[in-house]
């Protein structure tokens, strides 16, 4: 229990007024940049970097971690209230969160996001403190075939959310894949589907796609119906989570943490895939499948826990071996180098005080985030009382600002409008949104790992199967696909298979429901 002593010592270091102040500034700034679409924690840290060289490294890292956690949290606020995801990791939150907000349950959605983030952050930080070396040893063994298998599993999960019509679901997925493929091909360095527009060479940013589809698409939809239909006033709900909300939230929080943490820790994990897996899992496991798509609290609780747990997971390889797994971590790494510290396998041995103070600061930052955001939830929720023309003008302003900030070019605004029109069209013709988003996020990653696996094996197909992780994934996929068949066999053989709760069950229901 050497780690425990170190951690307690870490708390001793952070609990000074000045360090607490840095933690507070960090989470406040982080929440603010999370709320503003387009400005991510990575960019904020890059801009803060020159200022922090004057600070003590420990204090600067406390500040950075505050920004990082705060950003993960703040992104959910605009997702829920305005249907405008601030970060790619909170895209999924908008799906159910905004529906909850429209049903007058914005405060509950914000609260479950805040508490879920806190629970996930705390558990993940504990994991970070105690299983760091083991996690890293595991993470390094993963190769492209394993990532490919994980993503294939996610694609099969996507089948569950294709919506009421399979044709429309697949069409939506394919539109997403097409958008996801735009840009420079990573294997050959050549441009694809960029129509000779240099602005498209780096692909279409997921924030622009999500904001366009959700916020602009919806604003157009509302505008198109404003005269024909009397606006439905958003009801004022209760300010706090009820008993039922708690009962339905705690399991998704834990499951979201379990999904998010390992994804943050593995080199090509990231926060998007686990939020999406969490959403699919909750949708399958829920006792209220009819609420999904209309504002199910599980669909907010799970993904929000997942993205915060993934943020803590990111620090595992960073602190354990000096390996940054995302842009934010890469900037923290360069900061450490700037102070003459050697982030790497020896950091924990050489700088135990820094590492453990940092871990302790994550706990403190998390608690501060909860204290900062929970009381604000009912206040934020009142924002929706603004009359609709003003509210949507505000949403469009935020959306445009978000798209602009990603790259600072006017082109992205036209792109935003074009994707907004697409969003309007898919709403008009009843296409589901989620498969499209999945396509945009997962297509490029899947393609990269598929091609890299084949390159590594020199074209041999056996290279597509990697280590134990890929076996497990393919086994789960096989069961999920074959389950309806197996279930039928069991039923005919045993006579009473009953309405089982296997993983394939809801897949069949949701894809065939009203086909």
């Amino acid at each position: 229990m050497d780690n425990l002593n170190n951690l307690i010592e870490g708390f001793g270091h952070i609990l000074t007024p000045i360090n607490l102040l840095y933690a507070f500034v960090g989470v406040t700034v982080g929440t603010a940049v999370g709320v503003l679409p387009g400005i991510g924690p990575a960019m904020t840290l890059a801009l803060l970097l020159p200022i922090t060289f004057g600070l003590d490294p420990t204090q600067a890292m406390i500040l950075f971690c505050g920004v990082f956690y705060g950003g993960m949290y703040g992104g959910s606020t605009t997702s829920i209230l305005l249907n405008t995801p601030g970060e790619s990791s909170s895209v999924v939150t908008a799906l159910e969160g905004n529906k909850m907000a429209k049903a007058g349950r914005a405060a509950q959605a914000l609260a479950t996001a805040a508490i879920g983030s806190f629970v996930a952050g705390t558990i993940a930080t504990l994991l970070l403190a105690f299983v760091m070396p083991q996690v890293v040893a595991f993470a390094i063994k993963l190769g492209s075939p394993d990532y490919l298998a994980i993503i294939m599993l996610a694609f099969v999960g996507a089948a569950a959310v294709l919506g009421s019509s399979r044709i429309r679901g697949f069409a939506s997925l394919l539109i997403g894949l097409a958008i996801g493929i735009v840009g420079i091909d990573r294997v050959t360095g050549q441009q694809r589907m960029t129509f000779d527009l240099p602005q498209l060479a780096d692909g279409i940013d997921i924030v622009v796609v999500a904001v366009g589809l959700f916020a602009v698409g919806e604003a157009l939809w509302v505008a198109a119906h404003l005269r024909r239909k009397a606006g439905s006033v958003i009801p004022v709900g209760k300010p706090w989570m009820g008993r039922e909300d708690w009962r339905r939230s705690w399991k998704p929080w834990l499951r979201g943490t379990a999904l998010g943490f390992p994804f943050g820790a593995i080199p090509a994990g990231g926060a998007e895939v686990p939020t999406f897996l969490s959403y699919v899992t909750e949708r399958k496991l829920t006792k209220h499948p009819e609420e999904f798509g209309k504002g199910a609290i599980e669909g907010v609780a799970g993904p929000e826990a997942a993205n915060n747990a993934s943020a803590a997971g990111t620090l595992v390889p960073l602190l354990a071996i000096g390996l940054p797994t995302n842009a934010t971590a890469a900037i923290m790494l360069s900061a450490l180098q700037g102070w003459g510290l050697d982030p790497g396998p020896l950091l924990i041995e050489k700088q135990p005080v820094l590492v453990w103070t940092l871990v302790a600061s994550l706990f403190v930052g998390n608690t501060m985030l909860l204290l900062l955001n929970l009381p604000l939830a009912p206040a934020w929720a009142k924002l929706l009382q603004i009359p609709r023309p003003y509210l949507y003008a505000g949403i469009l302003f935020f959306a445009a600002m978000g798209a602009w900030t990603v790259n600072g070019q006017a082109f992205d605004l036209y792109l935003l409008l074009a994707i907004g029109l697409l969003g309007f069209a898919i709403r008009r013709f009843g296409f589901p949104v989620l498969p499209l988003i999945i396509g945009v996020i997962l297509a490029p990653i899947a393609e990269l790992h598929l091609r890299r696996s084949l390159q590594l094996s020199h074209g041999d197909l056996s290279g597509l199967v990697g280590g134990p992780v890929s076996w497990v994934c393919y086994a789960v996929i096989a069961v999920a696909i074959l389950w309806p068949l197996i279930a039928r066999l069991i039923r005919t053989a045993g006579g009473n298979g009953g309405p089982g709760s296997g993983p394939g069950q809801h897949t069949t229901i949701s894809t065939e429901a009203s086909a």
Partner: protein, 339 residues
């Protein structure tokens, strides 16, 4: 009148600099700062440096550090550093070429932009720009996993020559980037057809490192800085560095030349300006960067970030840039990645 104003201004600036240096009496760079400020020309104002990729990257750090050193030493007025990322730097390159005659704009660039201008079939060419100066460089390194059977670079090269397609090379950049050009040029130097090289592109050092640690590739080619902590911990081995001389941080690692392979390769960074700027504007940039290069603050920054000094200004840099552009273009055409 104007001369007098200039002198007065210089005096004020000098006093200001002295005042500042008095505050930070322990700073080593104060005398340099004072003396440059008292120089004959007044500080250039309104300069802008564009960074053709995102904040926090190598180009960005170099640009912001250079701007800060020049501002602090009063070599220039405040310099605006801004990012215009896209298409491996060619979006920024296009902007520089479009800003013909704008003597206030500079772009931080390097070998990566040279490669991208060919792979992205960019209309704007580096040969259109006005070369100002090369600032720094970083040597490449050939890295193998701890468990690798190759103990020195010659064993690796022999095995590579025997069956080039069977050896997987990983690098932290897309084709056309420095980590891709390094193994391709090395292959060419040792008599392997670059077309047969199995290059696997990773997204920067953050993805390349686990591939090496996890023994997924046979060797990695990248800047040496990325691996230093792992080398110290003994989890990877550096077989050779590609610089002329050994690297102080890796003094036990031989250069390629010492190992009998006539090959050098460095990833460099420098500054170019738009086409058609006046000689006076060009001189302002060259002078400012030359003065910056002489400050202690810049030397400290180089030491801090592990950059190797490679200062080269004006026409000398122009000739170097032209030669680089030529050799990169040849190898990429050979690979079918550029036309």
């Amino acid at each position: 009148m104007s001369t007098r104003t200039t002198t007065r201004l210089a005096a004020v600036v000098a006093i200001g600099a002295l005042g500042l240096s008095a505050c930070g009496a322990t700073k080593k760079d104060s005398p340099t700062a004072g003396s440059t400020a008292a120089g004959d020309s007044k500080p250039a104002t309104g300069l802008q440096i564009m960074v053709p990729n995102s904040p926090g990257g190598g180009y960005d750090t170099t640009a912001r550090t250079a701007a800060k050193v020049m501002e602090d030493a009063k070599i220039t007025g405040s310099i605006q550093v801004f990012n215009l990322p896209g298409a491996g730097g060619t979006v920024g390159l296009q902007r520089v070429v479009n800003e013909k005659g704008n003597g206030k704009l500079g772009m931080l660039m390097g070998l990566g932009v040279v490669g991208a201008s060919h792979t992205q079939k960019s209309e704007a060419k580096l040969s259109d720009t006005t070369p100002i100066a090369r600032l720094i460089e970083e040597a490449g390194a050939i890295v193998v996993p701890k468990a690798s059977p190759y103990k020195d670079i010659n064993q690796l090269v022999d095995a590579w020559k025997k069956d080039p397609a069977k050896i997987n090379v990983g690098g932290g950049s897309s084709p056309g980037g420095p980590d891709h050009l390094l193994p391709m040029q090395l292959a060419k130097a040792v008599g392997i057809d670059p077309k047969t090289v199995s290059y696997i592109s990773y997204d920067g050092g953050g993805e390349l490192l686990p591939a090496i640690l996890g023994n997924k590739i046979n060797f990695g080619a990248s800047g040496f800085g990325e691996f230093l902590p792992q080398v110290k911990a003994g989890s990877v081995r550096v077989l050779a560095v590609t610089s002329e001389q050994r690297i102080p941080a890796l003094k036990d690692v031989p250069t390629m030349k010492e190992s009998g392979i006539d090959f050098t390769f460095t990833n460099w960074r420098g500054i170019v300006a738009p086409p058609g700027i006046s000689e006076a504007d060009k001189k302002v940039w060259v002078d400012a960067l030359t003065k910056m290069h002489d400050t202690q603050a810049w030397k400290d920054a180089e030491a801090k970030y592990g950059w190797t000094d490679a200062f080269q200004a004006g026409d000398e840099f122009g000739a170097f840039l032209k030669a680089q552009d030529q050799s990169v273009s040849e190898i990429l055409q050979n690979l079918g990645l550029a036309s």
